[in-house]
Symmetry: C2
Subunit: 295 residues, 2 copies
């Protein structure tokens, strides 16, 4: 466990380093608030700069570096990935979906700017993300990103999550939701980083499988923290999953078994990296960070 | 005027021919309703197949043919353009935006499937559109499509339209709204058709300028019809613009001057096509169709 903590600290340092660089690019890639429609651009910046670990940009950079990627194209991808993540959060928080008032310790977009602007700012971040990924000149990366995001990926998981609220669902359905709603964009981050570095198909599949394992682990830990943390610690409404009857691992198998499952997924993720040449220490450290994080 | 009607009939035949082919591709490109999440796929198909002139696919094909385009890549673009148009309609109709109950004579998506599924089906159509345009293997087409759609294009126009409701706005603002909300995606249709055919930059700019003129004409005629037509003729809530205090040409300059402006834009659009080699008769006919249509 002490070793895990050391690994997690290493990952935290790496993610903070990438976050600083990536956020400079977010600022370059987002339209200025002085451009019309000013309020929409303000709302886009508000949500993107509300904070966050910038995990997806970190994973994309780690995969890009692992496979010896060169050049600046990766920064289009890191902005695209974070903007798409933000787009999904803004729409998830809407009154007609999760109806959350708090996100990262701040009022959610619809609370701050109204519902219409929130919907539009999510749409605009999604479209801008695809404009940026197009600038990489890599149609393969564009296609895999869109596919991981669509109804066979993130949006499919969100929709099933919404449809499952308040229902008794099996662990299979919970796995489907988490693998799609959460893991898909994490997989995409690794796949795109690898694609932009020119990795081989079999190497891309290895980091994709790693992403699938840590993606599910990430969601399970998130759901554990939703129960054991306070709203203040979390920066979003704690206990909201139980309140809304969301299907989660803790709800179905309890806290202890959920922690065990996260540990298993951590070990599984390390196995996925076996056989890769190059330095996988950052990816291993990020896996440790994911299962040990407390917020 | 009789000549205009002949031209319009020619355009109607062309658009119907393209619509039949394009709709076969929509069906291929949309996920089956039997795939999870079934209800989301059902909602996507409901909105796409609710009808419509398929003007954007028609314009993309006309530009593609004008510049001697070969191959099937254009059909990815026609689906992408129509799915993006549908995405914008679904979100525009939401209770928090225009709150429309009828679209093309049918209940709007949120009336039929609920608000959460409507938001998600719009998001999913947007993402699917970019997956399809990526399949053309043409990053330039994807970038111009995303740019025309974003906050400097369609979404920027939509947001300004929402912000202007019930306010006294100048004709300059109305032009800004129409050029962005309506013309931008029409321009994109022509630009992408031309790009996929390998047209030169100067030729692309000519059809783009043509699209800008007919795009504004299209919106002005739309706003005229909103006043002079019944809900039954229109298939959507007639008079809804006045009811919601929307900024339109008829509202600002009256019906007669609005008709004059549409005629001027028609003539302007024909001028934009001058100097193009190849057969521009279809584009000229579509311009005539746009200013003579009665629904």
């Amino acid at each position: 466990m002490q070793n895990l903590q050391k690994e997690a600290d290493l990952a935290r340092d790496y993610l903070e380093k990438i976050a600083t660089l990536a956020e400079k690019k977010f600022d370059e890639h987002l339209p200025p608030e002085t451009d019309i429609p000013c309020n929409l651009h303000k709302a886009m910046r508000y949500s993107v700069f509300a904070g966050g670990k910038r995990l997806r940009p970190g994973l994309a950079c780690a995969a890009f570096e692992l496979f010896g990627g060169k050049g600046d194209s990766i920064w289009y991808a890191t902005s695209a990935l974070e903007f798409l993540h933000t787009f999904s959060l803004i729409h998830d928080d809407l009154p007609c979906i999760d109806n959350d008032d708090l996100r990262r310790g701040k009022p959610t977009a619809h609370k701050q700017f109204g519902e219409a602007t929130a919907v539009m700012s999510g749409d605009a971040l999604c479209v801008l993300a695809f404009e940026l990924i197009a600038k990489t000149g890599n149609p393969q990366a564009m296609e895999s990103l869109a596919h991981k995001l669509g109804t066979y990926g993130m949006i499919g998981g969100e929709m099933t999550d919404i449809d499952s609220e308040g229902k008794d669902v099996s662990l299979e359905v919970v796995d489907y939701i988490h693998y799609h709603k959460t893991a898909a964009l994490i997989e995409a981050s690794l796949v795109i980083g690898a694609q932009l570095a020119g990795a081989s198909e079999s190497d891309i599949q290895k980091v994709e499988a790693y992403g699938r394992s840590i993606g599910l682990a990430f969601q399970i830990v998130d759901d554990i923290l939703d129960i054991v943390s306070t709203t203040e610690e979390l920066g979003k409404d704690a206990g909201s999953d139980i309140a809304s009857g969301k299907a989660t691992y803790p709800a179905l198998v309890g806290l202890d078994n959920s922690r065990k499952k996260a540990q298993e997924l951590y070990e599984e993720s390390l196995k996925q990296l076996e056989g890769l040449h190059g330095d996988t220490s950052v990816l291993k450290a990020i896996a440790a960070f994911i299962i040990t994080r407390v917020k």
